[in-house]
């Protein structure tokens, strides 16, 4: 009989070990099993385990890489990962902890000891969750108390939008080439999402709240570029492999930043969505993207939509290293990447609304004066709110 609703995911390629682990834990926890790292990662989003017992030596991606991917997944930092492996050398254990394991148990294991450790980790997780909730409650009360005499909840929300918008511009203004990229990208994203909300496989998932959150979240997708050194972000020439690896980190940096902001915000659904988009908008549908290499529906839907909008705008814009590709040719390129870079359902939405996308593209031009004006406007609004 299950006495605890905690979910435990068992990952091992040896069926005998899976049988043993299941027998040990199924009476106390909800248990699911995976025979490989790939299978475990595919189950992560839906099963949302509280704890993962993870073998290291498995065919396909090994336990180290699986653990790394778990840590990079949404809320992956909150999952307790216990590595259970017959690898017993110090460097192997060091590597396990370096990729984010919470504990390491050497096979052959003593069942009693393993059970004790799992119980301990789940108790620890519960304690951390309670502490985090209390901190969050306290934190969310502070701004309301401080501003209760001056600002309503709506005004606070408005101030939040403006602050976040200004933050976005800080990132964008560091890259002189992007111009109105965010304006177009947000609009493309919205057109695609609205189309997907009407027909296709995702219409159940996309409601008004989703559309509203997406509208506010999508411009924050590259916010992590704040953390990339100018020498690399603004380098005119070709990037070295190392520099490219540094650039790729803007996804993780952005996600951490937004998760941190979301944890202290009173009503921040869009910030959580923004963190997800920041983290996963460079994933590819075929699994060859970064940072986690998620495949297909493992990639959160908002990130799949933004990925196409972002790429289409990059293709059709001028860069120092390339000319702008005409819309019709860009459309062919996007279609050719259906099922590879992009979700085929999102590509279908793109095809259906291509006319609207091109019309919008013609309306929004890259004009520095407009962007700078928008920045000045936001700064003045921020000042007004601060003095009201």
């Amino acid at each position: 009989m299950t006495t605890d609703s905690k979910r435990v995911l068992l990952v091992d390629d040896d069926p005998a070990i899976l049988n043993l682990l299941r027998a040990l834990f199924q009476n106390e926890y909800l248990v699911a099993e995976a025979r490989s790292g790939e299978e475990a990662l595919a189950m992560l989003m839906e099963y949302r385990p509280h704890l993962v017992i993870l073998d290291i030596m498995m065919p396909g991606i090994d336990g180290y890489e699986t653990c790394r991917c778990i840590r990079m997944s949404p809320n992956g930092g909150a999952i307790q990962v216990v590595m259970v492996s017959a690898k017993s050398s110090r460097p192997e254990m060091d590597l396990a902890f370096a990729v984010g394991a919470d504990d390491y148990v050497i096979k052959p294991f003593d069942p009693l000891e393993l059970c004790s450790r799992v119980h301990l980790h789940l108790r620890l997780r519960r304690a951390l969750d309670v502490a985090s909730e209390q901190t969050s409650d306290y934190g969310s009360m502070l701004p309301l108390r401080s501003y209760s005499g001056n600002l309503s909840a709506d005004e606070l929300s408005h101030a939040y939008d403006i602050t976040v918008g200004a933050l976005t511009k800080v990132a964008e203004f560091r890259d002189a080439e992007t111009g109105d990229h965010l304006v177009r990208m947000r609009a493309y994203t919205q057109i695609l999402a609205e189309e997907l909300s009407c027909r296709g496989p995702y219409c159940e998932q996309i409601d008004d709240q989703f559309l509203d959150d997406l509208f506010r979240a999508s411009p924050l997708h590259d916010i992590g570029k704040i953390g990339i050194p100018d020498a690399i972000l603004l380098k005119p020439g070709r990037l070295t492999q190392v520099e490219y690896e540094v650039i790729k980190r803007h996804t993780i940096i952005g996600a951490h930043l937004l998760e941190h902001v979301a944890s202290g915000a009173p009503a921040a659904g869009f910030l959580r969505m923004a963190a997800t988009i920041a983290r996963f908008h460079h994933e590819r549908f075929d699994g060859f993207g970064y940072p986690a290499g998620l495949i297909g529906s493992e990639i959160p839907l908002p990130a799949r939509i933004v990925a196409l909008a972002d790429a289409y705008d990059a293709i059709t814009s001028i860069r120092t290293y390339k000319d702008a590709v005409p819309p019709q040719l860009a459309k062919v390129m996007v279609e050719g990447d259906s099922g590879r870079h992009f979700d085929p359902a999102v590509v279908e939405a793109f095809q259906s609304r291509f006319g609207a996308i091109v019309r919008l593209q013609e309306q929004v031009e890259d004009r520095w004066s407009v962007v700078q004006g928008a920045q000045a406007f936001m700064q003045s609004e921020l000042l007004n709110i601060g003095t009201e």
Binding site: D13, D14, A16, I17, N19, L20, A23, M57, P108, P111
Partner: protein, 110 residues
Amino acid sequence: MTVMNPIYSTMADDPILHEIVEMFISELPDRIDTLLGQTRASDWEGACRTAHQLKGALGSHGFDQLTPAAMNLERALKHKEPLAQMQVALEELVGLCRRVQPGCSPAECS
């Protein structure tokens, strides 16, 4: 057939795990066949993987006394030690696995 000096699991009388141990024992001959097949085919990588699995699985099912033999074989395969040494390690592990019996030791059951 009577097995000389049978080896029993230390978990054979565990109320929850004894069925799992019995299942493991029933599948052990298949694992040994796999290991022998891999070494006959000079599939050292595959044999090393099987030895590694046995190292973890045997001890975790209450056969701790077999763990060193599995460890020796894994090491010999991993470091590509001379064939004769691999053969000794293989025979030792296979010999021990064939002594594994279901149930618990008469001394402990009585």
